[in-house]
């Protein structure tokens, strides 16, 4: 533990790490608003929402569609552009540490990030500007999916632009004997950087259709298909998936898969036989990962919040945990991941990967020993984590007990790491 703490301290000295943490901290309030809206939008107002279904919202709430569309509109703006914000804040903070023009560098890095996600294939399309034409940006990459790329771009541009401006200013002064104007100091690096990123983006568009992001995602998605029934492989893939989440590569492996062939076959079996006992595919990513290792979203963040509630003395952690509890109940944990932040936090990486892995192992054992049936009925994605297994098995109490056991185990796994983080910041940050 002490080694880990020292490692954490060392890493936090790095300018890049500080920039990332700071950038995520700035983005957090926006994400929090989004997450709370999503809690209502996805949980209460969409047809597939958990609360929408159990409380029959449609029957008593007038104008459901209108509410839904309002929230959707805000969601498109904030959630859809969160990566752009992160690119801006990362570049901005890094530039500030170099005493450079922070705002200009931030904007440059946001623009550079956007150039990497222009829909290059649509550029030659004559319908490009019409309503029905292809979109001009790869919009999927501007949301939470793109956070990793945004951080990378923000760091690169923040560093590159700051240095470029300094070097350019000095060179100009030396050769022209007059200081370079503010406009020139910004315009020239901006053009150079955009030239580089546009060429990179354009070159990548020859490789695949979805931009740089999709390239990364595709390579990991290949792992997800045909996972089969091997518990160990499921374990490995989930662990890796969570590791990627920690890096900000959110959701390359789509864990929630009610509609895969195996799940449908399980459902067909259950419908014919009345329960999930003896279902053809008891061990899948869905029956293990979705049911027992996804409370609050990837990495069992619901357990992290509980652990913070029990063991953390950091005022900030407790505040973030309280604020993001509701979205975590419906498995929307982006705000927690970016707010604490869990992302790029070396101490939390360990429980973030281990807690779900332990849960999968426990569930795997329980299902193989026929202590609980596998989940067979589809449940909404926004079902509170500990209820997924209970509802998915058609109301099996043993599954609920196992869920609670998994939750307790995860809290216990998170607790020592949360306590370790109490050391952070010294007295001025303590509650």
């Amino acid at each position: 533990m002490r080694v880990l703490w020292r490692f954490n301290q060392r890493i936090n000295q790095w300018r890049a790490m500080r920039a990332i943490t700071e950038a995520l901290r700035v983005a957090y309030p926006f994400l929090l608003v989004m997450a709370l809206l999503d809690f209502f939008g996805q949980g209460w107002l969409t047809k597939t929402g958990f609360f929408y279904q159990i409380y029959h919202v449609k029957q008593w709430l007038p104008a459901v569609d209108l509410w839904q569309q309002l929230i959707q509109a805000i969601s498109i703006v904030i959630n859809g552009l969160v990566a752009v914000m992160v690119a801006f804040t990362t570049g901005h903070y890094l530039a500030r540490t170099y005493q450079s023009d922070a705002l200009a560098v931030g904007m440059t890095s946001a623009l550079a990030f956007l150039t990497l996600n222009v829909n290059y294939l649509a550029l030659g399309d004559p319908n490009r500007n019409s309503a029905t034409g292809p979109s001009q940006f790869l919009e999927g990459n501007l949301g939470p999916q793109g956070i990793f790329l945004a951080i990378v771009v923000g760091l690169a541009v923040g560093w590159g632009a700051s240095h470029l401006m300094k070097v350019l200013g000095r060179w100009w002064l030396a050769h022209r004997q007059t200081p370079l104007s503010w406009t020139g100091r910004i315009a020239i690096p901006l053009s150079l950087i955009l030239l580089v990123t546009v060429s990179v983006g354009y070159a990548l568009s020859w490789l695949n259709t979805g931009g740089l992001n999709t390239l990364v995602y595709l390579s990991f998605q290949a792992l997800n298909t045909n996972l089969g029934h091997h518990g160990l492989r499921i374990l490995a893939v989930t662990a890796m998936s969570n590791g990627l989440w920690w890096l900000g590569l959110i959701g390359p492996i789509d864990v929630a898969g009610n509609s895969s062939v195996t799940s449908l076959q399980n459902l067909a079996y259950a419908v014919q036989h009345g329960s999930g006992w003896g279902a053809p595919h008891p061990i899948t990513l869905h029956t293990l990962g979705d049911a027992y290792a996804n409370f609050g979203g990837a990495g069992m963040t619901l357990a992290l919040l509980i652990a913070i509630g029990i063991g953390s003395h950091q005022a900030r952690y407790r505040r973030v945990a309280g604020q993001t509890l509701l979205p975590n109940l419906v498995n929307l944990n982006e705000a927690t991941l970016l707010g604490l932040p869990v992302l790029f936090n070396p101490i939390l990486l360990i429980p973030f990967v281990i807690a779900p892995a332990v849960n999968i192992a426990v569930a795997w054992t329980a299902i193989s020993w026929k202590l609980v049936p596998p989940i067979v009925y589809p449940v909404p994605r926004t079902t509170p984590g500990p209820l997924v297994a209970f509802l998915g098995t058609g109301g099996d109490w043993r599954a609920l007990a196992l869920s609670l056991l998994c939750l307790v185990l995860s809290v216990l796994i998170y607790l020592p790491f949360v306590r370790l983080l109490n050391l952070e910041g010294g007295a001025d940050h303590a509650a």
Binding site: Q272, Y377, G394
Partner: protein, 299 residues
């Protein structure tokens, strides 16, 4: 920590408020899955007309097997007058579209006989559904067999909760018996019209008529076949009338008529036929088909 007791209270209330409705939702969903679930086994039940035995469809079945290159297995059931069932043939394992021919020892024409045949059909059907555990099926009736099937769908099928009918094709079925009149209604037509509200709402019905002369296939008047619209139109999801002319269109030749074989393949077996063999109905009577996407949006 002053207010810790009411925090716990709120927690308990929230858990209960989520847990209990989710229970209710769950049981509703499970029963819905059960009712929506369709077994892979989807038999085609064939009922021959009057004076015909369980072998009536042999030529048709041979033709269908040859053309579809699928060895549909055939199970034949004969219902005796005392309700005894005698089976010949079998449904092969893995064959999801078997043909089941249900014939009657008393296969005579006439109102009272047909009403009895519908009851016998029910008897055989219940036994089949119990043995083979299918929960949906299609049906094909020739001549009076179509009447027995229609009566069965109105009077008996609604009581069998576990099974739904997908499609019904009647070939030269005289809904108004031998009457050529368009105003007079025979008892069987009256029965069918009275019971039409009981027809399955999602059923798709095709009524095929043959025409040798302009008004008849030699046995059944075209007007009598046409009366079917008063039974099905606006009651079932779709009701389509098709008239076939040309070779082999006399009443008893119809089940092996080449055009009708193609119609069976297209509509009952739901094959995708090559464009040249496909029949596109010129007019189609349809009620709003239930096109609710349902719960497909679930992740």
């Amino acid at each position: 920590m002053r207010h810790s007791w009411w925090r716990w209270l709120i927690l308990v209330v929230v858990i209960v408020a989520v847990f209990i409705p989710s229970q209710a939702w769950l049981s509703k969903r499970i029963s819905q899955y059960k009712s929506d679930y369709r077994t892979p086994l989807n038999p085609i039940i064939m009922v021959p007309g009057s004076s015909a035995s369980q072998d009536r469809f042999d030529t048709l079945i041979t033709q269908l097997r040859q053309e579809t290159k699928v060895p549909h297995s055939v199970l034949k059931v004969k219902v005796m007058e005392d309700g005894q069932l005698s089976y010949t043939g079998s449904i092969k394992r893995g064959d999801n579209q078997p043909f089941i021919v249900i014939a009657f020892e008393n296969n005579r024409d006439g109102y009272s006989n047909i009403v009895k045949q519908a009851a016998w059909l029910d008897l055989a059907f219940k036994d089949l559904a119990k043995t083979y555990r299918f929960n949906h099926f299609s049906a094909l009736g020739h001549s009076n067999g179509g009447l027995a099937l229609s009566l069965f769908m109105e009077d008996y099928l609604p009581k069998i909760k576990s099974v739904t009918a997908d499609k019904l094709m009647t070939i030269a079925t005289p809904y108004n018996m031998e009457t050529d009149s368009t105003t007079e209604q025979t008892p069987i037509l009256k029965d069918l019209i009275n019971g039409r509200k009981n027809l399955p709402k999602k059923l798709v019905v095709y009524s095929v008529a043959g025409s040798e002369t302009y008004s008849s296939d030699g046995t059944v008047p075209a007007n009598s076949v046409n009366q079917g619209k008063y039974v099905f139109q606006n009651q079932v999801a779709h009701y389509t009338q098709i008239t076939v002319t040309g070779d082999n269109t006399t009443h008893s030749d119809l089940p092996q008529n080449r055009q009708i074989v193609l119609l069976i393949r297209q509509y009952i077996l739901q094959e995708v036929l090559p464009a040249k063999d496909r029949y596109t109905p010129p007019t189609k009577q349809s009620r709003n088909a239930s096109s609710d996407p349902g719960e497909t949006g679930l992740p």
